[in-house]
């Protein structure tokens, strides 16, 4: 029982941190601020899904964790490239 309470508390903390990150996404004066906040939201999501899986006693969502990790990485890299050079995919001619 105490274990579940701990898990719920941690989920609440994670959600609060997501909300804080969302605030940064909305407010963030520059684009890098927003990109970083989105990246951090992704990591928080990974954590909350993991906690959630423990709560639901299932390992069906572990794929999701991996996927969010990859997506968040690819997305951040793509954004970084975009901010750096203006295009995401450079054409080779």
């Amino acid at each position: 029982m105490t274990f579940e309470i701990i898990m719920i508390i941690s989920i609440c903390l994670l959600i609060m941190s997501i909300l804080a990150n969302i605030y940064r996404v909305v407010k963030g004066p520059t684009s890098p601020d927003r990109v970083q906040a989105l990246d951090s939201i992704g990591i928080n999501l990974i954590a909350s899904i993991a906690v959630f899986s423990v709560l639901l006693h299932t390992h069906a969502f572990f794929d999701l964790i991996l996927l969010i990790g990859i997506l968040s990485f690819v997305g951040t890299v793509a954004f970084a490239r975009f901010l750096e050079s203006g295009v995401v995919i450079v054409r080779k001619r």
Partner: protein, 798 residues
């Protein structure tokens, strides 16, 4: 298929080979080949005459669509045979006339004779069909071929106008006729006229009887140029004169008469008297109106056109009055005389009007004009033509010893007898019949005199004529001479064979009576008809000689109120009205069309919910609401509100992405890992695509201000949301059956061999959907590739 069917279809068959004859045998006028067809058919139909006179009828059936009761049933009785003889007989004369009228070098003879043969076959089909659907088919064929023939000189604007007008009006009537036929079929269960007559009691007492009658009359009145539908006939005079002589005097315009006569055994039993009043009343008014208007015309063919209108009205009124006979039981039924008069005048009119049209054509051909103000004094130059015109016009005016006199006397007899009817208010209002009949006869006399004396009498005005007039070639005169001699022969010998033929025709119109025809020139001193005729001639002569003094009467009638003006105003109004209607709602903006779609969506669905009382709320099968769902729902709401109210597009795109990710979290929460996986990936890709689209926006649009608020948009969106929510609640509350998912749960592993139920459903239980979703993706991919790579517009610029 019997010989009779072949006879009806023979003109159609021959029409197929006419173009070949025209193309390969140029030396001989194509008309000579065509001439054979009506002559043979006339001979063929004449053979039925002895049988018909003795009261027999011929019935031949050819099964066409038996499952729908549509059979090509050819029936020859007196009425049908009369029309068949008129069509083929006058058809032969008209073809002969046209051979000399139409030049071999200048005219497109192949099209002319193809149309003419089509018309001839169609007309034969109309009068010899016992099945109403087949009759309707031929009826429309006459409309079409008449349209082609009126527009024969299609490079003239007036021809096209006349053709279009006649097409619109007669097809309007044709469609009404079809409606009437279908109603009759509903009432009687058969398309056969003969079978309808046998169970006329059922039809007469049916609720649809009156509708059917009115629709039939609309069909007949438009075809036979009755008031107010006569307006197409004067404009149809743009056709070549043989066409006018054939279609617009002898045959097609009598199709409506035929229809009325044919349906009399059914509709005359109408207990309210509507049939008698409508047919008789409209006929008598058309008679008056046509003769009144014919006097002011200056064109020979226009006079003849109005005269045709008026004479058709005469026949129609006789048929109407004659129909009253079935309500009247007397030993000596005096009303049947009207039917005999109608039949007799039908024959007479075909003879004298055909010859008069041909005369008009000859005058036009030999002088270059048809305007009576330019004509005059042709008597000595064209003696034969003058004689024919004299006979025809005096017959039309009703002067002895020609046949028109006889039928006019009988017409007066019929009209005077109306006063003795004591049904349908005839004894009071019926007085209009003899009065109108008499006035109209006076005008008929006047325009007949104008026709003859303004053209052939007086002084010749050579300076106004284009050619030096001379007598027409002999070939052109043969047909009118034959018709004129028929006028005289019928006038002198109306009884005998013709009388017995008329008896059989009248018997076909009113099968419950036996007729005896005694037509004579002299009725004795003490009959009203005699004094009516004397009055007609006296007053007519007076009016003719004072013509210039009273023609101002016609200017009194306001120009704007004429039916032609109304028609001409109606067509553009219809066009501008419909184009205004289209423009008013077809704005070209997707926004408007979406608004229509959504408003209809809201209206239709909310009306359905309201009218069926489908809305109800059931709380028993609801699950408990957890805290995570509340939080996620709040997140989605925040996301949606941000999408709508965001100032920049970029914010909207990101908010949309956040909504998508939250949805995938919902999938996690509701235990759908596969969906969550897919949703995440797809959402990422689509957000990336949105960003791509945003990045390529023109600079000016990239940071446009937030969208403007529009009240109706807001109302529509709220309405759609509310309706969908209500439907979702209502449908969740009325769950009638258990889900079939139990089956999948049990059988995922055993027959299908998988543990992931979603995937097993996707590729095993219901793999077909997956297959076609794969093809959708393939199409989308190919489409995108094609859109990007294939730039035909830009390539053509280079």
């Amino acid at each position: 298929m019997s010989l009779l069917h072949l006879a009806i279809l023979a003109p159609f068959i021959f029409a197929i080979i006419v173009p070949t004859l025209y193309k390969y045998i140029r030396k001989i006028h194509t008309g000579w080949f065509v001439f054979i067809v009506p002559v043979i058919l006339f001979g063929y139909f004449s053979r039925f005459l002895p049988d018909i006179i003795t009261g027999k009828t011929v019935l031949k059936t050819f099964a066409w669509i038996p499952t729908l009761h549509i059979n090509f049933t050819a029936k020859i009785d007196g009425l049908g045979l009369l029309f068949a003889l008129l069509i083929t007989g006058i058809g032969a004369l008209v073809v002969l006339y046209s051979i000399y009228y139409l030049s071999k070098e200048k005219e497109q003879l192949n099209t002319f004779y193809v149309y003419l043969l089509l018309f001839m076959g169609a007309m034969l089909g109309v009068v010899l069909s016992d099945n109403l659907i087949v009759l309707y088919m031929f009826w429309e064929f006459t409309s079409f071929s008449s349209f082609f023939l009126i527009g024969y000189w299609f490079d003239r604007e007036r021809s096209r106008y006349g053709a279009q007008k006649s097409m619109l009006i007669t097809v309007l009537g044709g469609l009404c006729l079809l409606g009437g036929i279908i109603l009759l079929y509903i009432m009687s269960g058969t398309f056969s006229i003969g079978e309808m007559i046998t169970n006329v009691d059922v039809i007469v007492n049916h609720d649809l009887f009156l509708f059917s009658m009115i629709l039939f009359l609309l069909g007949a009145f438009t075809k036979s140029a009755q008031f107010p539908f006569y307006i197409w006939l004067p404009d149809a005079m743009e056709a070549p004169t043989p066409v006018s002589a054939y279609l617009h005097s002898a045959t097609m315009v009598k199709a409506g008469i035929y229809l009325v006569a044919r349906m009399t055994p059914i509709f005359a039993f109408d207990p309210t008297g509507t049939w008698v009043w409508l047919v008789g009343g409209i006929g008598i008014f058309t008679l008056f109106w046509g003769s009144f208007n014919a006097v002011k015309q200056t064109d020979l063919k226009a006079i003849l056109a109005f005269s045709t209108v008026s004479q058709l009205g005469l026949i129609m009124s006789l048929l109407g009055v004659g129909a009253a006979a079935v309500h009247f039981e007397l030993d000596e039924n005096i009303y049947t005389v009207a039917i005999i008069a109608a039949v007799f005048h039908l024959i007479n009119h075909a003879t004298f009007k055909g010859s008069l049209f041909m005369v008009a054509g000859i005058v036009d051909h030999e002088t270059g004009t048809r305007d009576i103000r330019k004509l005059g004094g042709l008597m000595s130059m064209m003696p034969v033509t003058f004689t024919i015109a004299f006979i025809g016009a005096f017959s039309m005016a009703g002067i002895p010893p020609f046949n028109g006199f006889l039928s006019k006397e009988m017409f007066f007899t019929g009209m005077v007898h109306v006063l003795q009817l004591d049904i349908f208010n005839m004894e009071t209002f019926g007085v209009i019949f003899p009065v109108f009949a008499w006035i109209a006869s006076v005008f008929t006399f006047v325009y007949s005199m104008i026709l003859v004396w303004k053209t052939f009498g007086g002084k010749i005005q050579l300076e106004k004529l284009e050619k030096k007039p001379h007598e027409a070639p002999i070939g052109m005169l043969i047909s009118p001479v034959i018709l004129a001699s028929l006028v005289v022969i019928i006038g002198l010998f109306p009884n005998g064979l013709l009388g017995r033929f008329i008896e059989s025709i009248a018997h076909a119109i009113l099968p419950t009576y036996e007729f005896e025809v005694h037509i004579s020139h002299w009725h004795g001193w003490f009959t009203p008809e005699l004094y009516m005729t004397i009055g007609v001639i006296g007053i007519g002569l007076l009016l003719y000689f004072t013509l210039s003094k009273w023609t101002k009467v016609y200017d009194l009638f306001p120009k704007k109120l004429t039916l032609n003006q109304m028609y001409d105003a109606f067509i553009p109004t219809l066009e501008s009205g419909s184009s205004f209607f289209i423009k008013s709602h077809m704005t070209g903006f997707i926004r408007s069309y979406l608004a229509y779609i959504f408003v209809f969506f809201i209206g239709a669905l909310s009306f359905t919910i309201w009218s069926t009382g489908a809305f109800r709320v059931e709380t028993t099968n609801l699950a408990e609401i957890g805290v995570y769902e509340v939080i996620l729902a709040l997140l989605i709401i925040i996301g949606c509100v941000t999408i709508i109210f965001a100032k920049s597009r970029l914010t909207s795109i990101i908010a949309l992405g956040s909504v998508g990710y939250t949805v995938s979290l919902f999938f996690v929460l509701f235990r759908a890992p596969d969906l969550a996986l897919t949703q995440l990936v797809i959402e990422t890709i689509s957000v990336a695509l949105f960003l791509l689209a945003f990045y390529h926006l023109p600079k000016n649009f990239r940071h446009k201000e937030s969208r403007r608020f529009k009240l109706n948009n807001a109302l529509i969106s709220v309405g759609v949301g509310v309706v969908v929510t209500i439907i979702a609640i209502a449908s969740y509350s009325t769950k009638l059956f258990d889900s079939i998912s139990e089956y999948y749960v049990k059988h995922t592993y055993d027959p299908a061999g998988g543990e992931n139920m979603v995937n097993v459903i996707l590729v095993d239980f219901r793999g077909f959907d997956t297959l076609f979703e794969i093809s959708v993706l393939a199409i989308a991919g190919i489409g995108i590739y094609g859109l990007i790579k294939l730039r035909l517009a830009r390539r053509s610029e280079k």
